[in-house]
């Protein structure tokens, strides 16, 4: 039987999505439901003097109004930070309380203050307008660079500083810098982004008065984790009385990892008002309250020799956490960022220092890549600048500093198990026709255009593991993943996974690997996820972990099925277990060539007996049934890597940047479904180009979000992109039995520096910040013209 792993299998999930049969949270309606509308702070920082709900309560159709007072009285817990980070001086990070409904103070525009439930959405909206909140407006802290000098916004958080973290050795770095021929310096802003999953957040809650069970349908990337947090910290309901279902979810990109205020409030309130509740965010609510991404201010330096060898690296970053520390908010700028900031290079000495600050803006958390795009942008800008200043070819300087031996002990934390960075860059150069660039540049020049080429080589650390290591670094949970494989009596198989698909195609990929392991057609396999009442506990999907962690749990559970099947088949065929071979779904007795299919074995496991004879196929010590589970905790992260090359053409008259060519060569280890992996890379690159050229989240000085709709926030459209040219190299991961590496974030990690390096190349080395909008580029072109004229 041909292996399904490695095949471009069409997706099992497409049938429902293409016919409008997807079942997203907002598609769910429950009889007798009420509609929730939240009253949100219009101010970035304001004391809440009073909340008057009396008029709202009398408003037509209003069923109830709840505020921070009631939620505090009921001792419902707040939102949490998932990782405890320690400062360089050994002190623990400072985390302010984050109640689901603000009672005394509001800390960002959009923070929920109260909620109105009504019979119809219109009535809920009208009721919400009648809630009167008396605010005392305070001066907001908005700019992360100024936060430490500003008034503290949270009690007990001096200088608005959550932590001042260090990774690496300052002394060793100083010594390395003293030996350098040249110090390359960059000052970078990693622009704040809004993840913008196309499905706005939503929740529907149904409280069962008989069983006292709450069912929460929600737009989550990790329903089990949401339940754990809501039970353990939120005090909403015990875990066995809380069912969290994340049905079809329309994209996440990190913004749907967190348990949000609305989910906690509606779950708690549904029990209180004894009615089902439906809440669906409008797009502007999503902009205001979804966790945002990036937002770093960085100064970094690279110590180099004249012949282009890297000696040392230092990175001083201010990371904006927004108003509160959330689930991955504190780890994203530290352990997900710092270790990767030395990139794919041998750099003998390095440190990363990160100061995470609170501001009166929406909380900042993981967004596709989480820390690694910021890291890659830092080092790859430095490397490109080093090449330019030293007059060395930008690919040559990279090759010169790549490790060639694996495992590669990276400077700060990671031991990278496998890779071949030279092969990746060589292949990218060839595919991009790197050698032919100068001719293309001249051609553009003849047409009055500026052409630039940019390179970026990256590695990233995803599928965070093992649990003992991540928990030792402050993570609040283990990052294993679970699976359960249920071989049903009639041959259909349900594969339960704790991972969650919101675009990643698990229905297909996981069925492919299970089908290969069990030797059954893929059509016989259903992948079940997203419901805490179905299957075992799981950690969810983020950080490119689903396949490398969750997929392996499925493989391991399948192996247990086969192992038990072998014992049962041996008894059925009356041979010893070691005389049985399992191949293509059949247990074969090697000597006699008698066989039992896995379906027959499964059937026998459930119906272990026969008429007229007292005989069981179940060996002594085994039990009936054929269900196995696995909790997989990998020995290490997985380390995808690659090199991307981009060519841009700039029209100096308009400042318009056109991405002419984009080549990506990635190493994801063994690839299960090339079609799906290519799709992941396309999407990642597009988001990265979005960051580099289009997207920016802009608050004004009072903390009002100026880019709170698609009219103001530039989402990349189809005509912003060329056709991406993808290639792959393959070195197998050694940390998992499939040899796979994560692929979901790589595109978004590699592409921003690739594009910016190309833009800056076209601008003759002139620094420009992301996003390189037409306005900024036009100004840079004008400045270039002026300085050229001066030189002439």
């Amino acid at each position: 039987m041909a292996s399904l792993v490695g095949s471009r299998v069409e997706r099992k999930e497409d049938g429902r999505f293409l016919q409008g049969r997807g079942r997203y949270t907002a598609d769910i309606n429950i009889a007798n439901q009420t509609y929730a509308v939240f009253v949100r702070s219009p101010h970035a920082r304001a004391k809440i003097k009073s909340v008057d709900t009396s008029k709202a309560l009398k408003s037509s159709g209003v069923v109830g109004v709840l505020t921070g007072k009631e939620i505090a009285e009921d001792k419902i817990g707040g939102l949490i930070a998932g990782w405890a980070i320690r400062s360089e001086d050994g002190s623990e990070m400072k985390v302010p309380a984050n109640p689901p409904l603000a009672k005394d103070i509001a800390n960002f525009v959009g923070e929920p203050i109260a909620v109105v439930f009504a019979e119809t959405l219109d009535e809920a909206k009208e009721g919400a307008e009648k809630v009167k909140v008396d605010y005392k407006v305070l001066k907001a802290v908005v700019d992360p660079a100024d936060a430490m000098k500003s008034e503290a916004i949270h009690d007990g958080v001096d200088k608005n500083l959550c932590y001042d973290w260090l990774l690496g050795d300052r002394k060793a770095v100083d010594e390395a810098f003293a030996k350098a021929d040249k110090i390359i310096k960059v000052d970078l802003i990693n622009n704040r982004l809004v993840p913008n999953a196309m499905e706005p957040r939503a929740c529907v809650v149904d409280y069962n008065t008989a069983s006292e069970e709450i069912t929460l349908y929600t737009t989550s990337q990790n329903p089990h984790l949401s339940r754990l947090v809501m039970s353990a910290f939120g005090n909403v309901a015990p875990e066995n009385k809380l069912r969290v279902v994340a049905p079809d979810v329309g994209g996440g990109f990190g913004s749907k990892i967190n348990v949000y205020n609305e989910e906690i409030v509606c779950s708690w309130a549904s029990k209180k008002i004894e009615r089902p509740i439906k809440w669906v965010a409008e797009r502007t609510e999503s902009f205001l309250t979804d966790t945002h991404g990036r937002d770093h201010v960085t100064h970094a330096e690279l110590a180099v020799t004249n012949d282009g060898k890297f000696l040392g690296f230092k990175n001083e970053t201010i990371a904006n956490l927004g108003a509160y520390a959330r689930v991955f908010g504190t780890v994203t700028p530290t352990y997900l960022f710092g270790p990767c900031a030395t990139g794919v290079y041998v750099i003998p000495a390095a440190y990363s220092n990160v100061k995470a600050v609170y501001t009166n803006t929406a909380p900042v958390d993981a967004y596709r890549g989480a820390g690694r795009p910021e890291a890659t942008y830092t080092i790859e800008r430095l490397v490109e600048k080093a090449a330019m200043e030293l007059g060395i070819d930008k690919t040559e300087i990279r090759m010169k500093n790549f490790p060639t031996q694996f495992p590669f002990k990276q400077t700060l934390v990671h031991t990278v198990d496998s890779g071949d960075y030279v092969a990746g860059l060589e292949k990218a150069k060839q595919m991009a026709d790197y050698a032919g660039f100068e001719a293309r540049r001249k051609k553009s020049e003849a047409n009055g255009k500026l052409r630039g080429i940019g390179v970026s080589s990256y590695f990233e650390a995803c599928g965070i593991a093992p649990s003992a290591a991540v928990m030792s670094l402050g993570c609040g949970v283990g990052l294993w993943e679970s699976a359960e494989v249920r071989f049903n009596p009639t041959g259909q198989i349900s594969v339960f996974t704790g991972a969650h698909s919101h675009g990643q195609s698990h229905d297909t990929t996981f069925a492919q690997i299970a089908a290969d392991e069990l030797g059954v057609p893929m059509e016989n396999i259903d992948v079940v996820h997203g419901d805490t009442d179905k299957g075992t506990f799981g950690m969810g999907t983020y950080g490119s972990r689903s396949l490398t962690v969750g997929g392996i749990a499925i493989v391991n559970a399948c192996k247990k099925i086969v192992a038990k099947g072998k014992r049962v088949a041996a008894k059925m065929l009356e041979v010893n277990e070691d005389e049985i071979e399992f191949k293509d779904g059949e247990f074969v007795a090697l000597k006699s060539n008698k066989k039992k299919t896995i379906g027959e074995v499964a059937f026998a496991c459930y119906l272990p007996g026969q008429r007229d004879e007292m005989k069981s196929p179940i060996p002594e010590g085994d039990e009936p049934g054929l269900i196995e589970s696995s909790f997989f905790d990998p020995a290490n992260f997985s380390f995808p890597a690659g090199s991307h090359i981009c060519e841009v053409e700039i029209d100096p008259d308009t400042g318009n940047v056109k991405v002419e060519k984009y080549t990506a060569v990635d190493d994801f280890g063994r690839i299960v479904n090339p079609m799906i992996v290519e799709g992941q890379v396309h999407g990642g690159i597009a988001q990265g180009i979005g960051q580099a050229l289009h997207e920016n989240t802009q608050y004004d000085e009072t903390g009002q979000l100026m880019t709170a709709s698609y009219m103001d926030y530039t989402m990349p459209r189809a005509d912003n992109f060329p056709e991406f040219n993808l290639g792959f190299t393959c070195t197998h991961a050694t940390s998992n039995p499939l040899g796979v590496k994560g692929c979901g974030e790589a595109g978004a990690i590699a592409s921003p520096p690739t594009v910016m390096n190309a833009v800056i190349d076209a601008l003759g080395g002139q620094e420009i910040s992301m996003p390189a909008t037409a306005e900024k580029v036009w100004k840079a072109c004008k400045a270039m013209k002026k300085s050229n004229a001066k030189a002439a």
């Binding site: 069409e10 997706r11 999930e13 497409d14 049938g15 429902r16 999505f17 293409l18 016919q19 409008g20 049969r21 997807g22 079942r23 997203y24 907002a26 598609d27 309606n29 219109d122 913008n196 999953a197 196309m198 499905e199 706005p200 079809d248 979810v249 329309g250 994209g251 990109f253 409008e282 797009r283 502007t284 919101h502 675009g503 990643q504 195609s505 079609m675 799906i676 290519e678 799709g679 396309h682 999407g683 990642g684 690159i685 597009a686 988001q687 709709s709 698609y710 009219m711 989402m715 459209r717 189809a718 005509d719 992109f721 056709e723 991406f724 595109g747």
Partner: protein, 153 residues
């Protein structure tokens, strides 16, 4: 309240709704045709695109009462007799969708493009789809799907 009568996916429907009911709300809440999605409320994202009398429009910024008497086709009405429309087939074949949220609008918009222009170039496809935002795919396989469908329609 207004009585709105439409022919939706070949079936005549008539509902009494508030005057300000949007077509997207009418389809989703009154007819339970939840394949039409709402992604932005400002007619930018295109997840809500349906056909009214054969032309693609954004149902989130159209009043149901305004299209009184029209023939409306939603994503649910595209497949005929259990057979996917060539555009749906093409999206499946080229992996033109991931999370599926923008997909209904994207497919409805793309079908209208091919009704308007038989064999559009890559650039023409990209420009036509300017009113449909996808966050997952980077659009590449969507463009491939439209080209694939163009060979079948």
């Amino acid at each position: 309240m207004t009585k709105v009568t439409l022919e939706v996916n070949g079936k005549k429907v008539s509902k009494e709704v508030p005057d300000h009911t949007l077509l997207s709300v009418f389809l989703r809440d009154n007819l339970n045709l939840t394949g039409t999605h709402v992604g932005c409320d400002t007619s930018q994202c295109g997840a809500c695109v349906v056909h009214v009398d054969g032309k693609s429009i954004k149902s989130c910024s159209t009043l149901a009462a305004d299209v009184e008497g029209s023939k409306v086709t939603t994503i649910e009405g595209l497949a005929k007799d259990g057979k996917l429309h060539p555009m749906q087939e093409a999206f499946k074949k080229t992996h033109g969708l991931q999370c599926g949220y923008c997909t209904p609008g994207m497919v409805m918009s793309a079908v209208d493009l091919l009704q308007t222009k038989k064999n559009p170039s890559d650039q023409e496809i990209r420009e036509w789809l300017e009113g449909n935002i996808c966050r997952c795919t980077g659009y590449q396989n969507i463009v491939a799907a439209v080209k694939e469908a163009a060979t079948k329609m």
